[in-house]
């Protein structure tokens, strides 16, 4: 489809762009960030997030409209794909960004260090980042893929360093840039090798051209593949490309950490699936794929997968800062997700999609609680969480639900996600991988339980003398938390619609 015709299928992305531009212009005109402090400024401050949310809702509406009844097709001269697979991920990104915006709304008139949410650029960058994620999940061309990766990365660098004057935030931003630059440099070298070998940048054409070429260049192709894995592995924070992750997660404003732990990871998986399943393998049956061009990428990923989950979990055991702990836990979760990638079966991919949806809610939820508690007690250290569960029972219980869901205990949604992953692994008869996976879940219990132990296992109040130092949690936060916890509870008991949606979304060009 040519460029002009494509535009009417590009409405979700265009909505994001328009919203971003509008906010930027409004910001320039009214200068929100420089308003005087008193409470009268609150109305205007809330205008920005509300505007952004409106943009996201409109974009979601366009996505939903595209979803019913269309033929999968290429847009913009085969640069990006319009298919159910991409739309599935776009919906995920919109939900994530929506929650992040809602986390960021400043709730007090006194500007604290989370004043990031006061500045128009913050929302603009989030929207641009979302736009990049949209393109990443739909890219069917090496160039588009690289451009999208960079769009996401650059806006993430700035967002990470958004807390001006905060050393940790700046340091995290710088680290992120350096690691990111190296990784994307390596990746684009790999991409150029692939182009050199095949003479095309299009996912669909590369395998055909590769097959017709000579086989003597196999080592070069393998090297190129590994370079691409470096670039994308960095995006999903897979070991050994994860070094940036804990520092960046710790230093970034917490809503951004939550964003980074879910959205780019999901996009990374989208592009990994699309790239490796179309370029280096072909669909040989209704639910199975076979390798082409003899690149043993499933084996490479299996090794990375085992390293990622094991190292992520083992490192998380020693963390005392909650954000760092959750950073390592998110590395481990990337490892679990990768199990679905190596199997070359439809069930494996469906499991990834299901897991991503569930992971979104539980991981955002856990970060949300960290935000709430750190605004209430001013700390993200586990030892300061002592007895917190009794001082804020509802939030404490909800945190337990998120953490046990992350561990993968029934009847919570996290179990369903893991269940489908392990089911796919067992079906494909990768028994050793399944065993490594479940043992890792057991390890993960230990550090998640540490948080729960701190919150609940001490400081039990007496019935006769109710603890007076109750934390007051703004009702707005409670509502948000309940929005996040409901899916975790409901999907743990009834997930048939989610399964059907994920299975139907497994259709990519």
């Amino acid at each position: 489809m040519n460029n002009i015709e494509s535009i009417k299928y590009f409405t979700p992305e265009l909505t994001l762009v328009i919203t971003a531009v509008v906010i930027l212009l409004l910001g320039m005109r009214f200068g929100f960030a420089h308003r005087p402090e008193p409470a009268e400024g609150m109305g205007a401050r809330r205008l920005l997030p509300l505007l952004t949310l409106t943009g996201l809702v409109v974009s979601m509406f366009f996505c939903a409209k595209l979803l019913d009844g269309f033929q999968p097709t290429y847009l913009f001269s085969e640069m990006i794909a319009l298919d159910r697979f991409a739309l599935f991920f776009k919906i995920i990104f919109l939900v994530v960004t929506g929650f992040i915006i809602m986390f960021s709304i400043p709730y007090q008139s006194n500007a604290d260090k989370f004043a990031a949410g006061l500045q128009p650029e913050y929302y603009v960058l989030l929207l641009i980042s979302t736009l990049g994620l949209f393109c990443l999940s739909a890219a069917t061309d090496l160039l588009m893929m690289y451009l999208a990766v960079e769009t996401v990365s650059i806006s993430s660098y700035i967002l990470t360093a958004f807390l001006k004057g905060n050393r940790k935030s700046s340091e995290a931003g710088l680290k992120y840039v350096i690691f990111g630059a190296v990784a994307s440099g390596i990746m684009i070298f790999g991409l150029s090798l692939i182009y050199g070998l095949s003479g095309s940048t299009n996912f669909e054409h590369i395998p055909i051209l590769l097959a017709s070429g000579s086989n003597g260049l196999q080592p070069v192709l393998l090297a190129a593949t590994i370079m691409v894995i470096v670039g994308l592995g960095y995006k999903i924070a897979a070991v050994p490309f994860h070094m940036w992750c804990p520092d960046v997660y710790e230093g970034a404003p917490t809503p951004i950490t939550a964003f980074l732990s879910v959205a780019p990871k999901a996009a990374g998986f989208a592009v990994l699936i699309r790239f490796f399943y179309t370029v280096f393998s072909f669909q040989s049956g209704p639910e199975t794929w076979s390798l082409t061009s003899g690149i043993p990428w499933p084996t490479i990923f299996a090794i990375i997968c085992v390293l990622t989950m094991t190292l992520g979990n083992l490192a998380a055991l020693w963390q005392n800062n909650l954000k760092r702990l959750l950073a390592y836990s998110s590395i481990a979760h990337a490892g679990y997700l990768m199990m679905g990638l190596v199997l070359l079966t439809g069930r494996g991919l469906t499991a990834i999609l299901i897991y991503l949806v569930i992971y979104l809610f539980m991981n955002l939820g856990a970060f949300m609680v960290v935000i709430i508690f750190s605004r209430a007690i001013g700390s993200e250290d586990i030892k300061d969480y002592k007895g917190l569960g009794w001082r804020a029972p509802l939030v404490g219980v909800i945190m337990c639900i998120f953490l046990f869901s992350l561990t993968g205990l029934p009847p919570l949604a996290g179990f369903i996600g893991k269940f489908y992953l392990f089911a796919a692994v067992i079906e494909a008869q990768w028994y050793w991988l399944a065993i490594v996976g479940v043992l890792n879940s057991v390890i993960s219990l230990f550090y998640y339980a540490r948080i729960i132990k701190a919150m609940f296992l001490s400081g039990l109040p007496d019935e006769s003398a109710p603890n007076l130092s109750r934390l007051s949690i703004p009702g707005y936060y409670t509502v948000l938390l309940i929005l996040l916890v409901l899916p975790v509870l409901v999907l743990g008991i009834y997930w048939e619609p989610l399964y059907n949606f994920a299975a139907a979304s497994l259709e990519f060009l």
Binding site: P411, F415, F422, A423, V438, V442, L445
Partner: protein
């Protein structure tokens, strides 16, 4: 009455909304009453079940079957037979008594009873589920409340004990999950339905399934707990509050034995026949090693905990025999041990509430000061030793009878366990109740009415079954006979 089992399972959690809605001013007593009423209703239902249960058939009764997740062929499938009926009866009884025993809990009452009731539901679910997925969900549902109940309301080392319990059990159960999935993908058409898997039992043969059997066995052995996975038990028991110890010893440990009977043996019979001899050996190690460890204990609760390990060994030995009387003995032993160890932990709780320690050597001559208490202790201790005329004897005797033919040597060694049991319990009894009275405890009040209410029903069962065990054997006999034909 339709959906009898569903009510039986979910009655306890139905109390939770009431408890959460209680105003905090009323919460203490009202919470306890709500828990008492709902577990009481559950007990009544169970009593009704006892009378209408058909003793003549090995088929599943009170079956409920509904589609849950059709795309993965997961069902909500409940039913009970002779293997589960005893535990389905015991669970509400022990839970009800444990609620009474929990009356003294004053901190975080709402949370305590919510978790307690959730635990009750999980346990009932395990014994009623006939869909393997559902079974696994209930199995795991028992973990969370137990972790908190030990971890929040436990003794000084509660945090260590709670996480140790959690990690051990989770380690076992994730292995079970893998085997469940392997069974699912091997069966054709794919199913989690336990009755269908049993029909397909002869397709699960070969070394691969022996490994799978061992995976399942480990999952259940951790719960029993069988050597060498037993080390969590003494810690968990020692630190848990009294009512939770009662639940733990009375029901939770039985889930392991039940799992072997319900799943390991009928679904993987070939592997079971190969592995039986090792199971017998592990059983004997449990009996003798457990008893020797018990000898060395100074803490009363720890002593009872180790004696549990020893007594659960009889269940393993009886199952490994794969004979009618061995199986009958094992299932009876499950039930009896539930009653007896429940009594013993309640008894330990009584003295702990008064003296605030459980050091056996710190007491002496209590029989003169607390005659009623001494009497109840005597009953429980004698029952645990397997004195003829009390229920412990019947179970152990049947186990020996069944196991002697296939494993004469192992059985002879195991019999020494009975002597050792007599040794450590009588020694404990002497140190605590006989001899000169420790002057510190001159004014210790005797056991009170509430404590008697928790002990007497169990005591009556122990005596009644010791004299005339047929009502219980009738319940289980036919199903176990059928189980043996499945395995042979």
């Amino acid at each position: 009455m339709p959906h009898l089992l569903t009510y039986l399972i979910f009655l306890p959690v139905m109390a939770i909304p009431f408890i959460l809605l209680l105003p905090s001013r009323l919460s203490g007593t009202a919470t306890r009453m709500a828990a008492l009423i709902f577990t009481g209703l559950q007990l009544l239902l169970a009593g009704y079940l006892f009378f209408i249960f058909d003793r003549q058939t090995a088929a599943f009764q009170f079956v409920e079957q509904a589609k849950w997740i059709p795309t993965f062929n997961i069902e909500y499938y409940l039913g009970i037979d002779g293997i589960s009926i005893l535990m389905v009866l015991l669970t509400p009884l022990i839970s009800f008594l444990a609620v009474i025993a929990s009356w003294g809990i004053t901190k975080g009452v709402k949370g305590y009873f919510c978790l307690f009731l959730l635990l009750d539901t999980g346990m009932m679910g395990v014994f009623c589920a006939l869909d393997f997925f559902l079974f696994y969900v209930f199995w795991e549902v028992t973990l969370l409340p137990m972790y908190f109940l030990i971890g929040i309301w436990g003794g000084p080392r509660k945090e260590y004990a709670a996480i140790k319990f959690f990690l051990y059990t989770l380690f076992g159960s994730v292995l079970m999950l893998l085997v469940i999935l392997a069974l699912y993908f091997t069966s054709n058409p794919h199913t989690f339905n336990i009755t269908k898997l049993i029909e397909l039992r002869n397709t699960f043969t070969g070394t691969g399934w022996l490994v799978a059997f061992i995976g399942l066995y480990i999952a259940f052995a951790v719960k029993i707990p069988a050597f060498p996975f037993h080390t969590w038990l003494p810690d968990a028991h020692t630190e848990a509050p009294t009512p939770i110890s009662v639940i733990l010893a009375g029901i939770l440990l039985k889930m392991g034995v039940y799992g072997i009977l319900r799943i390991c043996l009928p679904i993987l019979p070939e592997a079971a026949r190969t592995f039986a001899i090792y199971m017998a050996i592990i059983g004997v190690i449990n009996i003798v090693y457990g008893a020797l460890c018990t000898m060395a204990q100074k803490d009363m609760k720890r002593l009872i905990a180790y004696s549990s390990i020893s007594h659960m060994g009889f269940c393993l030995l009886g199952i490994a025999a794969l004979t009618q009387s061995g199986m009958n003995g094992a299932v009876l032993q499950m039930f009896n041990h539930g009653c007896i160890s429940g009594m013993l932990f309640l008894i330990a709780g009584v003295i702990y509430d008064r003296a605030h320690h459980r050091d056996i050597n710190g007491f002496g001559g209590l029989a003169a000061r607390m005659p009623l208490y001494a009497g109840m202790t005597t009953l429980a201790v004698f029952a645990s030793m397997g004195l003829p005329g009390l229920s412990g004897f019947i179970g152990e005797f049947l186990v020996f009878l069944g196991a002697f033919e296939p494993y004469p040597t192992a059985t002879i060694i195991a019999v020494s366990g009975v002597v050792l049991t007599a040794g450590y319990f009588l020694w404990m009894f002497r140190r605590m109740f006989l001899g000169p009275l420790n002057p510190k405890y001159e004014n210790l009040p005797d056991i009170n009415t509430r404590e008697m209410i928790t002990l007497v029903p169990l005591g009556l069962i122990v005596i009644a079954l010791g004299v005339y065990p047929m009502p219980v054997i009738n319940l289980i006999n036919v199903s176990l006979e059928h189980l043996i034909t499945l395995v042979k």
